[in-house]
Structure formats: C-alpha cells, structure tokens
Symmetry: C2
Subunit: 309 residues, 2 copies
DNA sequence: ATCGATCCTTGCGTTGAACGCAATGATTTC
DNA sequence: GAAATCATTGCGTTCAACGCAAGGATCGAT
C-alpha cells in the first residue's frame, strides 16, 4: 500500500478547508483544473466520493471527513518529524557513542565532554571504556563513532584523525622523594614503591618492552587493571606510578600530582590517537565532538600539557 | 510544507529495513538506480545524509533513524485511515442524520430504525424531531441527509423520493363508541370528547381547512402540540383524536387503538413524503437508511397499513 | 596484493503523471 | 432568464521518475 498521492490529498484538504477549489487554487498556486482532476482521481483510487458535487460551496462526505482527518494526522506527524530533524541539524538532539581506553578517563575526558554537553544540551553521549583491541573493533563495526587509544594502530581500515605524543612519565605526589628529581631512569624507579598496570592493560606491554630493552625489572608493590587505582595510589603519597600525562590531567593541573620524564627508556615515543573508521563520514554531533577532542589533543601537544604551560 | 516525495521515503525505508538497495529493488520492483537516486534526492532536499555511504550493508545515520520512524508513523496513520475507510465502505461505521416530524415517532420509525441498526451496528443515527418547515430547511442546508414530512412540499430544490397517502383518520380506543362506526364525518366527531393538535402542528392547519370546507367547528377538550399526548389521550379511552395511521402504527397493530376513516372531509388526500436535497447523492449508510424508510413507506401504502392486512 | 563478486552511483534516452490554457457544463444570483 | 461564478473536460507541454548500461567502490578470497 504505497503512500497516497501526496499532492492530491493536499489539494483535497485545502479545497475542503476553504470550501472551494478556486480558493484552494489561489492558495496553492495551481490551476483549478489540476485540483479538480487530482481530487477526482483520488476519489477514483479510493473508490469513495470525498466531496459532494453539484454545489457551490464544497462539502465533504463522511469519507471525505475521514480523509481530512487522515491528512491532519499526516501533517502533525510530519511537523513533529521536521522539528526533530531541525533540532538534530542544530545539534540540539542526537547521539554520539565513543570508545576510549580507561586511561583517558579523568580530567581530560571530563573537560572535553563537559564543554561539549554544555554547548550542545540534548546530545546523548555514550562512552564505552574498553581495551584497545575492542576499541578498534567497535570503531570498525560502527558501534562507536570514533575512538581514543594509546599508540597508533596499524589496521588498514582505520583512519587516524590525530596523533599526539604522550610519553609515559613518572607520576607521584609532590612531596614524594621522586618529585625532587628532574627526571628518572627505570633503574631509579626500582628503588620506590611502585604501582603498575597488570597484564590486561596496554601500558603493561609497553613497560615490559622497555624493561627488556633496559634490562631492568620493576617489582610493583601494587598491580592493578584500573588506572584510577594507579592514580589514587600515587596521590596517597607513598607510591609512584607510570602513566601518560593525559591519564592524570586534572591532578597534574591542580598540583595534587606531579609528572617527571623517564629518560633512556624509549617510553617517550608512546602516543595517543584519535581514530575512526575509514570512509565513514561523521555528521553533526559526532563530528563536533570528535573535533573537540582533536582540538584538545592538539592543544595538549603544543603546550605539552597545561601543567607545563 | 508539501508532503514528502512519497516514493523516495518509501524506497529509503525499504532499503534501510532490508539493509540493501538491491533487496529493496527486488521487493519494490523498481530499478536500483531509481532507488539510489530517490534517496540521494531526498537527502538533498532534507539537507541531511540518511544513510552512510561506502559500506556494503546500508546503515542509517541518526537523521535516517528519525526519517525511518517518521515513515513508520505515516504507515500507522495510513493503516488506521484505511481501516476506517474500509469500515465506512462496508457500512460498519458512519453517521446518518435525519429530520422527521413528531408524528413519525412511534412504531413506524422505531421499527425501521431498529432493523437498520441491527443490520448495521456501528452506524450512528441522529434523528431531529422538528416542525415541517424546519425539516425542509435542515434538508436544504444538509443538516439532515433526508427528511420525513407530512404533505408534499413545493420547494424547488427538494426532491421527493417517495410519497404515500396517509389519510387522516379517527383514532380511538377499541371500546369507544366511535369504534363501532365504520366511518365518521366531522359532524359525528363533534359529539365526542376530542383531543386535537394545537396551532404549531401542521395537522392543525389541515383540520382547520377541513372544518371551513365542511362548516363544522370542532371543539377539543384537549389541545396539545404533542402527538404523543394525542395518542395517549385516545388510548386512555375517553377521548378521540385525529391522526394518520403512521402516527400510531404500533398501537393500531396490537389493537390498543383502532382507526376509522373520515368521509367527505377531503382529509384522505393528505400524505407523507420522504424528501432530500435535489442533487445531493447519498453514499453508503444514509442511502441505505433512506431506502429502508422508502421501502417501509411503500409497503405501508400497498397494504394500507398492517392493521388492515 | 590482486581478482572477482556484489553493490551503489552516474549518464542518457524514454515515458507518464501533473500541469496550464481554454472551452464546456452546472449552479446560484440578480 | 441572463450574468456570474464554479467545477469539469480536452489538449498540448513539461519535468520528474524510470530502465538500461557503464563506471566506481567495497568486501571476501585466493
């Protein structure tokens, strides 16, 4: 049952409303003949008379009244749709889903998201916190509009929108002995109580490679799969951890934590990447949010973090 | 805001549902090229992408989802309309409004209406009880689909669908002295206690003319504007009244009242007419009900009333 | 990487529905 | 009964939608 001949119904509606085909003709801007024909045709296809012929003022039949109400329903429906569409185009409504590593939670992510949602209320953002491989998968399957991962990835169907260096750094409380050093080696670190990522995290692998290269083996007193735990462990004061700046942005900014570079461990070449599926054009809200992340990321790169600015 | 290009939305809907333009092409029976073009054009007029290009399986954008839901709403609306229309065509729904004189209330009217509504449940009938002049007016203004009046009317724009003779008769209880007579003259009547219509009723005028012709002046003991009161007055036994058969059909049939002709008063030429507006074609339910009244009226005419059969 | 299969897009010629103009028929008003 | 006002019908025109066919693009597999 295909949709009714849109125009015919419209003509009928106006003619019935105004009480005359001629008035409808003036209003619509279509010859009376067409209106007459369209209505006649509509009646033919419906098998029912819609208006009573042989009268000066047009009057609807009962079936006509039904059709009239039907068209009103169509108009109402369309209007609602147009409103929603308009809101969508104004970025007042919509959904964005992103996939990020746990490391991004914290000040960086919160700030960007807060700004965005403040500027575009009504946009629902769903952020899935996943391991890197799953992030890539989610982006590939369009389960997420874009993703934020550590390191750049080699997947051919992934487009890297932005990459910024995020060297791993020693993170500790300002009053911790390590904070007095300008920079540290892996060997220096082994003298402190360490909180390090467990095998589930990508950070773990990166550290293991560095350890192998430097032939230094770090012995953590706390191993966790949660970056939150690592951050808090450092903030408590006793322990030291290793994270990229971005993973502790807020604490670094307000001074509750400090960051010190690690030299000669080749850890400074780690980076974070903003990725999305190759060939997928993002419309409206997702594009906006991705741009916001991109700008923030690049701003970070230039200044090497607000804390350093 | 004209209705959307119906087909384009339909194509989009099917393509999105089936996940492929090709499948939609098979289902709809339209070349893939057309579908592609229609969707592209739809997107252009809406200014928003509806599907994500460059992918094997079609995926909707957020705006696409909106359009999808909109189309679903259209379909639901149309379906509801189609159902109502179908019911209307099967005479399972609709409205009929008729205008009748009070004289028709009672057995005749009830029987016809009962039969009709039993056969077509769901049809709403509104019956306006009005004086003759107002009935004609209502029919002329299409406030009533048709009307039932005493006497035939001379209005040029009224079509008389049926006219049957309804001579005025003497109506009284079976045990009343008048019931023993085979027929009565106006003069005979003047000897009984009479209940006669008041000046508001058309019956009154007819009687006045007869009185003038016969030079007999009837003195009623009860004057009323209600035919119901006249009928009940006769049924009580003491009084005699003058009505057409049809106005007391039920009572005449079951013997609670009897009718006797009036001779030489020219009252036997009165009639009732089924009228509607000239040029107005009645569709469905009104036509049916009118036909039912017409048939009943004519059946009455042939047998001169069930009581005489 | 390359090839083949499958799908979407684009170019071009064709068709039919909707249109405007003008004449005709119908209805109301003076 | 004539004028005025509508609605309908006939006819030629136009433009959107269509089918066919060629040209990308993508996905899966060798």
């Amino acid at each position: 049952m295909a949709a009714m001949h849109g125009n015919a119904l419209y003509y009928f509606y106006e003619a019935a409303s105004l009480g005359s085909m001629r008035l409808a003709s003036d209003k619509i801007g279509v010859a009376v003949s067409s209106i007459s024909r369209q209505i006649a045709q509509l009646e033919k296809t419906m098998g029912v008379a819609l208006i009573e012929r042989g009268r000066r003022a047009i009057r609807m039949t009962e079936a006509g009244r039904l059709a009239y109400e039907y068209y009103q329903g169509c108009i109402a429906n369309e209007e609602a749709f147009m409103n929603r569409l308009h809101e969508h185009r104004q970025l007042k409504a919509g959904k964005v889903s992103i996939a990020i590593g746990e490391g991004f939670l914290g000040g960086f992510f919160s700030k960007v998201l807060e700004d965005f949602q403040g500027q575009h209320p009504g946009i629902a953002v769903t952020a899935s916190v996943l391991p890197t491989s799953e992030i890539v998968h989610a982006v590939l399957e369009d389960d997420a509009h874009f993703g934020l991962i550590f390191n750049d990835c080699t997947e051919p169907k992934i487009r890297v929108r932005a990459t910024v260096a995020q060297p791993l750094m020693v993170i500790c409380a300002p009053d911790h002995p390590a904070a007095k050093r300008k920079s540290l080696s892996l060997e220096d670190l082994s003298t402190y109580d360490l909180c390090l990522p467990d095998a589930n995290l990508r950070l773990h692998q990166i550290l293991r490679e560095a350890e192998r290269r430097e032939q230094v083996w770090l012995e953590p007193v706390l191993t966790t799969s949660s970056i939150y735990v690592m951050r808090e462990a450092a903030r408590a004061g006793r322990m030291v951890t290793i994270l990229p700046r971005i993973a502790a942005a807020a604490e670094l900014e307000d001074g509750r934590l400090v960051a010190r570079p690690i030299y000669e461990a080749d850890l400074e070449h780690t980076s974070v990447s903003l990725i999305h599926r190759l060939g997928r054009q993002l419309d409206g809200a997702p594009a906006r949010l991705m741009a916001a992340f991109e700008a923030r990321l690049k701003g970070w790169s230039e200044s090497d973090g607000p804390a350093a600015a």
